[in-house]
């Protein structure tokens, strides 16, 4: 008898679970702006904090629109974008020819919109008190493919005979592409005996824990963990320049300051919710970009893009 009752209990159990889960719905309508639909974004982890902030504020202003943001690296983001799976792709470097070809194959165009400046930041362990400044050439010798530099005194003889442990972003990352192009001189040319992670926090923790370590990632991450890391200023032939909001904006932090982008496809831009989101992005960039640790473009630039 008990058992029979249980059979019935089980039969209603699964649908019931669905019902319970379904209770979350019902708040799609009732927005002020009348916009609805979905904007899907994916791509660079460097641009993610900006897009996340925009998505959050946009949805507060337009409760009818759903904005989703994923992280799969600049390269991974373009793969989805060119497959038609996303409306907007976050990118920490310009789109590559091979990616444009892939998009073209699927009949997808991409409009490039610069949204902020980022400074690639080279960091060291705070216990390392010698490598406070390195030349671009030294960084290139250290990071080029097949580099045999394993100890600090191989870079400069007066530096201590300590092992260098390297940390950096993985090959799907736009930060990796940009750093190799700017420092080594050839895109994607890098030694591969370093700890690679798409998760910048892993790099922060790694450099923090290894006395002889050196790594690089976006400035926003450095700023959040500046008490745990030391900075390596970069000498591009004009003296040592450390990254800061000023030096990144005025371009003296060279060659490692770079613009970061979002890419939008025109088809998506024709949809009112995507258009509204992109306009919201540009209208609020001067406020939200610095809030999440990046350097905004000059205000006129955003207006120019909007006018276009």
């Amino acid at each position: 008898m008990d058992a029979k009752k249980l059979t019935r209990t089980a039969l209603v159990l699964a649908p019931l679970a669905l019902l319970v889960a379904g209770c979350g719905g019902g708040e799609r309508s009732g927005d002020g702006t009348g916009l609805s639909g979905m904007v899907s974004i994916d791509g660079s982890s460097t641009v993610f904090p900006i897009s996340e902030a925009m998505a959050e504020e946009f949805q507060i202003a337009n409760p009818g629109v759903r904005v989703i943001v994923g992280i799969s690296g600049t390269g991974g983001g373009f793969k989805k974008f060119c497959a038609g799976e996303t409306d907007i792709s976050d990118a920490s470097r310009p789109i590559k020819q091979s990616e444009m070809d892939l998009c073209a194959e699927n009949g997808i165009e991409a409009i490039e919109i610069p949204v902020a400046w980022d400074g690639l930041t080279v960091v060291r362990n705070p216990a390392n008190d010698w490598a406070t400044c390195m030349t671009v050439d030294e960084l290139a010798r250290l990071w080029q493919p097949g580099s045999t530099i394993q100890r600090w005194n191989q870079i400069r003889p007066d530096w201590p005979d300590e092992e260098i442990v390297l940390y950096g972003p993985d090959t799907d990352s736009g930060t990796f592409d940009y750093f190799t192009a700017a420092v080594v001189g050839e895109e994607d040319a890098s030694r591969d005996d370093y700890t690679a992670s798409a998760d910048d926090n892993v790099l922060v923790v790694g450099v923090e824990g290894d006395a002889g370590s050196l790594g690089y990632f976006g400035f926003a991450y450095y700023e959040e963990s500046s008490d745990r890391l030391g900075l390596v200023a970069v000498d591009n032939g004009n003296g040592c320049v450390a990254p800061s909001r000023e030096t990144i904006e005025n371009g003296t932090y060279a060659p490692l300051s770079r613009p970061i982008f979002i890419y939008v496809k025109p088809d998506a831009l024709a949809r009112p919710e995507v258009r509204a989101f992109v306009e919201f992005y540009l209208n609020n960039a001067t406020v939200l970009v610095p809030e999440v640790g990046y350097v905004p473009l000059a205000a006129e630039r955003y207006e120019e893009i909007l006018d276009w």
Partner: protein
């Protein structure tokens, strides 16, 4: 006869026994200690973030505004759908294997493979799900694709658990039913299945407890990182608790690590409730022979 061959050596044997007991005690003590440290650490970081607001708010870049509503709802949807898919498939397969299938090499081969599948790393199911459900079936990066993938992941466990439950039903019961003229289907439907159901449900809930903590396969099929709305249909994009936790731990700000600890506590509570449910179901309906 050499009585010297036997030496009682009671002291030595007792000493060995005492040492073995100590070793066992240390092993349990060690695991409990590690667990306790983990729980205390998580509780210390996360407890003060817990509030109804935390459960009722969407994620945010500002820690004070952040919550786990979309992640909890995503997890509930995911569990509901996974159960709805894996329960009929798993129980059906188990009934076939136990009640209908002939005992030959093919069944034995199937059986071995099911056992092996239970040990396949979850990321492999993620790759499979991406290829089959997301791309081939065109479900996209939706709840349905995620649930189908997790259902595959737990199926071997559900099948094996259901088989064990069916095996435990005494054959005298089946024979009695046949003896009264019942068909095979009637026997299974009215006698075998109800008798085996507590065991089947326990296996089902335990496999769902595993599924609710899975992260890797869902990241593989493209669960999203920032979702600030509630899913309303199985085709909606989603996030789940473990992904929200993972996302927060990879943020640089320390407050988010504490928020992640808060979300871990919520996940642990959900797990505890599910496991308690499994035990209660078993105790309430179990019959012994």
């Amino acid at each position: 006869m050499s009585g010297e061959r036997f030496r009682p050596a009671r002291d030595r044997r007792r000493r060995v026994g005492a040492i073995f007991r100590m070793v066992c005690l240390v092993s349990i003590g060690f695991s409990m200690l590690v667990l306790a440290i983990l729980l205390v650490d998580v509780a210390r970081d996360g407890l003060h973030w817990l509030s109804w607001d935390f459960l009722a708010r969407y994620p945010s870049r500002i820690p004070e505004r952040a919550g786990i509503k979309s992640a909890i709802l995503g997890s509930l949807w995911m569990m509901g759908l996974t159960a709805a898919i894996s329960f009929p498939l798993g129980v059906g397969a188990a009934i076939y294997l136990e009640e209908y299938a002939p005992r030959n090499w093919l069944t034995r081969l199937l059986q071995t493979n099911i056992g092996n599948l239970a040990g396949v790393p979850s990321i492999v199911y993620g790759i499979l799900g991406l290829a089959i459900f997301v791309r081939f079936f065109g479900f996209g990066r939706s709840l349905l694709a995620g649930a189908a993938t997790l259902a595959l992941l737990v199926l071997p466990v559900v099948i094996v658990a259901s088989q064990e439950a069916l095996k435990a039903v005494p054959s005298s019961l089946r024979e009695a039913s046949y003896g009264l003229g019942a068909t095979k289907w009637q026997t299974i439907r009215h006698h075998v299945l109800p008798m085996a159901l507590p065991g089947i449900l326990t296996g089902m809930i335990l496999s769902l407890s595993r599924a609710i903590g899975e992260t890797a396969p869902l990241i593989m099929i493209g669960a999203l990182t920032f979702i600030a709305f509630s899913p309303t249909s199985p085709m909606d994009p989603f996030t789940v608790l473990p992904i929200q936790i993972f996302n927060w731990t990879s943020k640089p700000q320390a407050e988010f690590h504490d928020l992640a600890a808060g979300a871990i506590i919520v996940l642990l509570v959900v797990l505890l409730v599910m496991n308690t449910g499994a035990i209660l179901l078993r105790n309430k309906f179990q019959k012994r022979f």
